[in-house]
Symmetry: D2
Subunit: 378 residues, 4 copies
Amino acid sequence: MARKLRMGMVGGGNGAFIGAVHRMAATLDGQIALVCGAFSSSPENSKATGKTLFLEEDRTYGSVEEMLAGEKSLPESKRMDFVSIVTPNFLHYLQAKAILEAGFHVVCDKPITITIAEAEELLSIAKRKNLLFCLTHNYTGYPLVKQAKYLVQTGSLGKIRKVVVEYHQGWLSSPIETSGQKQASWRTDPAKAGISCCMGDIGSHAENLLEYITGLEITSLCADLSTFVESRTLDDDSNVLLRLSNGAKGVLFASQIASGDENELKIRVYGEKGSLEWLQSSPNELIVKWNDKPTEIQKPGVDKAYLCEEAKNACRLPSGHPEGYIEAFANLYKAFAATISENKPVDFPTIEDGIRGLRFIENCVKSSKQGSIWVKNN
Amino acid sequence: MARKLRMGMVGGGNGAFIGAVHRMAATLDGQIALVCGAFSSSPENSKATGKTLFLEEDRTYGSVEEMLAGEKSLPESKRMDFVSIVTPNFLHYLQAKAILEAGFHVVCDKPITITIAEAEELLSIAKRKNLLFCLTHNYTGYPLVKQAKYLVQTGSLGKIRKVVVEYHQGWLSSPIETSGQKQASWRTDPAKAGISCCMGDIGSHAENLLEYITGLEITSLCADLSTFVESRTLDDDSNVLLRLSNGAKGVLFASQIASGDENELKIRVYGEKGSLEWLQSSPNELIVKWNDKPTEIQKPGVDKAYLCEEAKNACRLPSGHPEGYIEAFANLYKAFAATISENKPVDFPTIEDGIRGLRFIENCVKSSKQGSIWVKNN
Amino acid sequence: MARKLRMGMVGGGNGAFIGAVHRMAATLDGQIALVCGAFSSSPENSKATGKTLFLEEDRTYGSVEEMLAGEKSLPESKRMDFVSIVTPNFLHYLQAKAILEAGFHVVCDKPITITIAEAEELLSIAKRKNLLFCLTHNYTGYPLVKQAKYLVQTGSLGKIRKVVVEYHQGWLSSPIETSGQKQASWRTDPAKAGISCCMGDIGSHAENLLEYITGLEITSLCADLSTFVESRTLDDDSNVLLRLSNGAKGVLFASQIASGDENELKIRVYGEKGSLEWLQSSPNELIVKWNDKPTEIQKPGVDKAYLCEEAKNACRLPSGHPEGYIEAFANLYKAFAATISENKPVDFPTIEDGIRGLRFIENCVKSSKQGSIWVKNN
Amino acid sequence: MARKLRMGMVGGGNGAFIGAVHRMAATLDGQIALVCGAFSSSPENSKATGKTLFLEEDRTYGSVEEMLAGEKSLPESKRMDFVSIVTPNFLHYLQAKAILEAGFHVVCDKPITITIAEAEELLSIAKRKNLLFCLTHNYTGYPLVKQAKYLVQTGSLGKIRKVVVEYHQGWLSSPIETSGQKQASWRTDPAKAGISCCMGDIGSHAENLLEYITGLEITSLCADLSTFVESRTLDDDSNVLLRLSNGAKGVLFASQIASGDENELKIRVYGEKGSLEWLQSSPNELIVKWNDKPTEIQKPGVDKAYLCEEAKNACRLPSGHPEGYIEAFANLYKAFAATISENKPVDFPTIEDGIRGLRFIENCVKSSKQGSIWVKNN
């Protein structure tokens, strides 16, 4: 398709965090242009945001419904191709449903919906309408995550025996939501975040990363969720024992009260012959360890002969030029655009991943509520 | 200015490296749009590149002259605002001159020109025409480089006594230019790169970083330049002793034959009370060391209370979300755009920095040729 | 006491590992001399070892009994003061009992005995005979472990909420015990190692370190022990959820099949205000993280003003001279000698720590055998 | 020789630093016993020190002369075998001369003497008397330094092109010698330290390490020595350009005013095919980098198959048990003892290394005094 794809956005008004990230990520490679948006539940904020983004005035809408009607009334040569949903969790379902029903592809922030039933409904609509749905489990976009997946799945490490995956943050160590911090407010509010705060927001990233890299499924789990900050109702810390589909064991722990930690998503995968280790805050090093050879540090770069094709393609720069979070995020949009424009195979997280994530969150909450007992996860 | 700035580009055709970086950096923040270009000395490649970039066909030009003529014929509401020059060194002078004379602002890759006289002429044209000129010493765009500058220049470290700055790469360890590697070919060719390869290409980044962070000038130097790969005429390694304007001493060394190193630009600044250390390949850590307190690791983030304003403004993401080379590069474009659109003060490297860089390169070559003796540098 | 203490040794014949460590550690500070030993169940090996160690020939004994008889027959001015037991686990009980009954102080490798009842009996004998007993949980001897303990227990980090402690090794990734590797053979043999391999050998170090630094007790646990190498009967991997005495939560995991890992004992302690992190393989850095200040790296050194007294006293060298495993181990002997010679208060692990360790191991095995359910640990 | 070697010591009285290190290093492996000493120019301090060390009272001497006379009067079966000299620089020459003339082997702290003539005289005496002389350039005792030497000298890295060696400390950032700090006082005093402080004390370690690992000689140099703290007469900082015997280039810099640095001795060696990097404050990692393969981290351990024999023999512990400064130091004593007892070949630094070190120091001072010009170094 010899043109840029046209993106609409729901959410991401001035003041939001993740909306701006989606916009930078979507447009980084020059394949996608933002053309319209319903940026806020406040029409004024939506208008103001559209202005900041230099959009045509009549394509900054006051609501999703208005946006869908407005865009459908435009000639196909101008109309948006897909919509990015970057609103709080509880809004995803109805918004995505409306967008799909209107015939547009969707990119949606995670978690996909509040309930599994909602997600399954979205899946069936998307299938029926033959539309694409990308769920932004963005950490899978890092080049060295793709290299890690490659090393595991081509058997370099031998049969996998153990996985340790963790995601520690400290920003909710004190009850900042009580003094109006916007990001904290909705994430700690069951009405907006769903049944879990810590597992829903970041634990699900850890789960997704584990399954992406190893190709294994979590078959049962035993979760100990805690709420350390008194005024809260949802979990802000969690420790989970895992059993995986090939007989491997695992540990997953996540926290939002890990004082001093910023965004420490780390995975370690141990096989019979070797192991690997990757840390999101130092994303340009993949540590590979062997029983009988020196430890290796693998690095990214479009010119790195030892990387697999998927990892090289996920780089934009030669060796030694660090890429980061925005570039990794952009790799999801790049893959999404390629599937739309060039019919390339799907290489981004989908509704199915979202459903697995929700099932994991539900089962963690269920396990924990029943006294941290073992529950099946499939 | 309630619109995006419009950028033209010279160079950066398909296959080039730095052109794509400039495009990503320029457009990252949604303040600049690429509207036209003369991407290659081959009109076919230029056309093909324009197509890949989804430009209007009649704004992909075959030469700078054609581009200047074409754009000037457009109504002001459509015409480009500035031009980015991303060609090899030897082309900068004539291209920049033509663009400035035609009344457009310029962003130019470093080194600015081959000779100081050329750069001084550009300076005088830019002044006469009241135009802006940004030289992309991109490493100064990193948030923690700005924090380092702040720590030094507000006196936190005490009076500066010593600076060690280094830039080691290994990609020219063997004569890859003889088998046609494009990046290597022009950099090792005196006709295209000028009087120096290693000092011109990367030593000048080290020099610029030293002066940017410390605010000191290199007043004299003693340089030992080497050419280790036999087929070469220009230097591929260099070691330089420095004396700085406040009485401090320094060491600068750079190499393109440092096998196994990728892009190791590192600076250490030692003051009477403390010291700092920053490494480009791990750009999200600023090490600050004290004689009597624990070593500190300072990190970036829009929400980091202990960072100076300049550093915080150079971040796009909250703590723990790594940013990299493209984002640092984008900070130069962001500052350039802000000066054009909002009359913000100049906060990007300029022709004056370019002239200092050329003088440094010239003096290193002069020192080395005369037996590595001390020469004045101001 | 104006003389060196005299040490006897049980075990540690030529070919053993930990015996040599005990000898270096005991004598490092010039306060203790090895004077006799029953180094091996083979009298020939015992004799040969004594010769290598330059002992008087008639003080190299063929058995513990012979050693006790021999030493008691010597004049007090020559007789050994205490005995170090460095034999495999299953021998500790009877040997320690005999030595205590004969009136000598004991240093003993961990785990103290196979059963809690045995350890309790040793405790009652030691009390009755008024003898000292040092259990070599050697990792508590590191200066920065003492500093960590100080930071936690003086409240610098605020109330503790979460602890993650791990001990990963890879040396048992394949069944090396089947080809006669001596260290592996007894550790994987239930008759010599007891009910657990991985938890007994290294998990108990992790448990001890957690309790030493935090001063908290593990009140209940849920353990998932695995045996990945088929020919084995005992566990070679384990993952455990913990609940601690102040309401904090914890995760402890240990492995001997973590391919490529050497001896990765790591602890992280999270409080309301800050957190700390210490890794045995990089023992001279204590990472201290805060929600609102730069991360700190604290380092050892006799001259480090910011260290607590216990940490400074555990150093032998000024800043920047790395100390390691032997020096940390020696700190236990130094404290033990000081208690004997100068009546200094006990500052080394004791039988009580050993009993807590055994209870932890027993409960982990019990939990795991019953389907990885929660069990009380006090 | 079926007995421990007997060591005497000159210097190292209570309050000194390096004497205690020598004692721990000498006795660590159970092959050497301290039997006598003249620990201080104050006979009282000497006596008190001997008492602390549990020496026989009549073998704590008031002077070197007294010690030599006393020991020679003892039967050979009791008499010391060698003497360790751990006094300030200016005393080495006369003490070593007397000891050699009296027929005892010598271990001596570096730098060997104040002048080259003195060192050459010691060399001729030692040769005439057929005595061994070990100069404690202790950093060459680290296992991974031996592995680095092996990698370079067996050609793994290809022909060496560049070496960067540095030794940065910050402890002399302020004039602590004026308030009586003992270590600082003699080092900054020309009468006791000789013609250089920084180069003599630590620069010479850097020079020795470079020559040890690479087997190359420094053939000419250009040195810029500075005295930053006003009250001083000797250098406290230095930067030196080097040319090496095979045509390679080098940079050596050292500092005692590098605020916040502790003991940062680091070497980087670049060959045509790869490079290596070793840092004393993190001694258990050897970084090996390649142009076309992942970076390697080599680690120590008696059981590490990929290490050369010399490196493995320099370890006492299995992988993952960090060894440090004392153990590396002890490796010099171990080699020295092996040469005496078992006629093993010399594998420790000797007078010849000391003479090369002095020549290097002299030439640095000479270069710097003449305006930092190039001078020959052989």
